[in-house]
Symmetry: C2
Subunit: 354 residues, 2 copies
């Protein structure tokens, strides 16, 4: 089964095999990975190696801390303003679609929110302009590096004088990025980085001095940094799966991954543009290389193509319930060959469609 | 290796085997349990069955909702007062030790906290008195059903006119309990109920009408109830492991489990009381049947016994870092035979100790 789901997403077979073995016996410890203590050498080693690999991949120095937290993107939507946005202060949000909008809604519980730019008028089928931040008095600027639902993606992480915070859930580690342009970035694991249940947060050390509100330790970046991801019982297994993915990424090399990402996206977009039955929805220069969103000729044909794919062991290409049609996610575990299989199905279907 | 850790804790081998197989291929779906969508029939079935089994085990009717949330006990420490304790209102806490105390500290961020009773003066080596709640004006009363760190346990869940909230993390499903005496109870999974990464919350429906504060959806019990545990991407794998544990518990029968719990605890406490090298720390009538906490003759002997156990494939009996000495956790996956093995080691060690 080829799984193009947007998340939880496909994982490489070798990662699944190692994870499966660890559930029975982790590293010949005689204990399952589900049983090892979260305070002790076995898990300390997992945390330390995963931190080193994240820093290597992102080019982060000693001025950043790497955390694994629970609660997914939405807990970050809450924790970020809870920590950094005072009641009478303003945070700036760049609105490129669903997840940006939801992050703004969460922030509004804690302070003032300014929409710096939006492409809502285009129904998010293109990116908004990157805002000029000149003269803005903002606690931080938040943006979503890749729009998982509509399928648009920022090509670069801009520099910013105001602390830049990025939700990179759906395109982290898919190419080289200027991660250090961010004061804080986060990514849920269940796309390019492992299994659901943990969220990577990288935070520049000076950010902990910008905390404006007294919150319980579990929700405080300062306390989480101080406790190095084990303030509470850390989700050991999801973090271990992320470590396996990090090793896989490092082993393959980020440049090879970036090249594959380009190849997979080009092949698929070319076919969408060529095939008479399909149409992309996003403006060409803003298209995401991670989540390819497109429409079929009509509802009936869309349904038939979905069924045709399932019959041929291809799953997870139905679009998000708020957009419809198709979404094909090209995360790291998806190979060029997987994409070629899908393209063949699109071509076969076109030939036989009446 | 016999694993007496307090959590993450031992799981039955058959649960580990099924979990391990599901990581490769869940239920012959062709997908790993780490890859299946959190919105879709495969996971809906897991959620539905786990809800039914929790309700069966707890005797809960339609007036309760069952949720699986992330963030562990500490996020509940925060969410409970965030939702139910207004700034000028008071919540009552029964303080039986570390976790009760920490829950109180979290509540103090949101409103007033009244310590209804405490055994701090005895260094928590006994339970406090159960408080009279007559005439109290409290938003809720919180207590910890089993003190994992010091090793004391409430024998019953009292009835209460004021909504009773219980942290049952370390003794849920170890015996029959009057769960419906609670308006809300919660339990992290990594002890009697699966792997770290999800927390069971059962909440009586009228509680959502008592919410006093507007909080982001992710932190709102009302929204979590409305979205039936899939407000965000649920931790599919930990929830599945909990379902496997629930089936295992139902299959064994809660009465048989309760009987084993009594047997395991009696055997071990009898040996502690008999053996010249060990001393229990908790008042006899308040002793926990889940976490057995005891001291050795002296520090040197304690260290030697820990090493002796490790040499004999028995692990996880070192006490919590705040109490020291020994803690043996007798969760559901620990068999009577496992306890007998430990007792033999205690006896062998005593014979040879000089």
């Amino acid at each position: 089964m080829i799984n193009f789901n947007a998340g939880p997403a496909a994982l490489p077979l070798e990662v699944l095999q190692q994870a499966s073995e660890a559930v029975i016996d982790y590293n010949r410890s005689g204990l399952s990975i589900l049983e090892i203590p979260h305070r002790g050498k076995l898990f300390d080693d997992i945390l330390e190696e995963s931190k080193v690999l994240v820093k290597e991949l992102c080019g982060l120095g000693d001025d950043y801390d790497v955390l694994w937290l629970q609660g997914g993107g939405r807990l970050q939507f809450a924790m970020i303003p809870m920590n950094f946005l005072a009641e009478n202060a303003t945070a700036g949000y760049v609105d490129s679609g669903h997840w940006s909008t939801e992050a703004m809604e969460y922030a509004a519980y804690y302070g003032k929110v300014k929409t710096l730019s939006t492409s809502k008028e285009y129904n998010y089928t293109q990116l908004p302009n990157w805002p000029s931040l000149k003269g803005e008095d903002l606690s931080y600027v938040h943006f979503t590096s890749n729009n998982t639902i509509y399928g648009s993606q920022w090509p670069e992480i801009p520099k910013s004088e105001i602390p830049l915070i990025s939700d990179m859930s759906s395109d982290i580690f898919s190419c080289r990025r200027d991660y250090t342009n961010c004061a804080l970035f986060y990514a849920v694991a269940q796309k390019n980085l492992g299994a659901v249940g943990n969220t990577l947060v990288a935070i520049r050390k000076d950010m902990t001095e910008r905390i404006v509100r007294s919150v319980p330790p579990m929700l405080s970046f300062k306390e989480q940094v101080a406790k190095k991801s084990v303030l509470n019982t850390a989700p050991v297994f999801p973090i271990y799966v992320s470590l396996l993915m990090l090793r896989w990424i490092i082993d393959k090399g980020i440049d090879a991954i970036a090249q594959d990402t380009n190849t997979k996206a080009s092949l698929l977009y070319n076919e969408i543009d060529r095939n008479t039955l399909f149409t992309g929805i996003v403006k060409k220069e803003d298209r995401s290389k991670m989540n390819v969103v497109f429409l079929g000729k009509d509802k009936k044909m869309e349904q038939q193509f979905l069924e045709f794919c399932e019959e041929n062991d291809v799953t997870g290409i139905a679009g998000h319930r708020s957009v419809g049609a198709f979404r094909v996610s090209l995360y790291n575990a998806i190979s060029v060959a997987n994409v070629q299989t899908l393209i063949s199905l699109m071509q076969d279907f076109e030939k036989n469609y009446q």
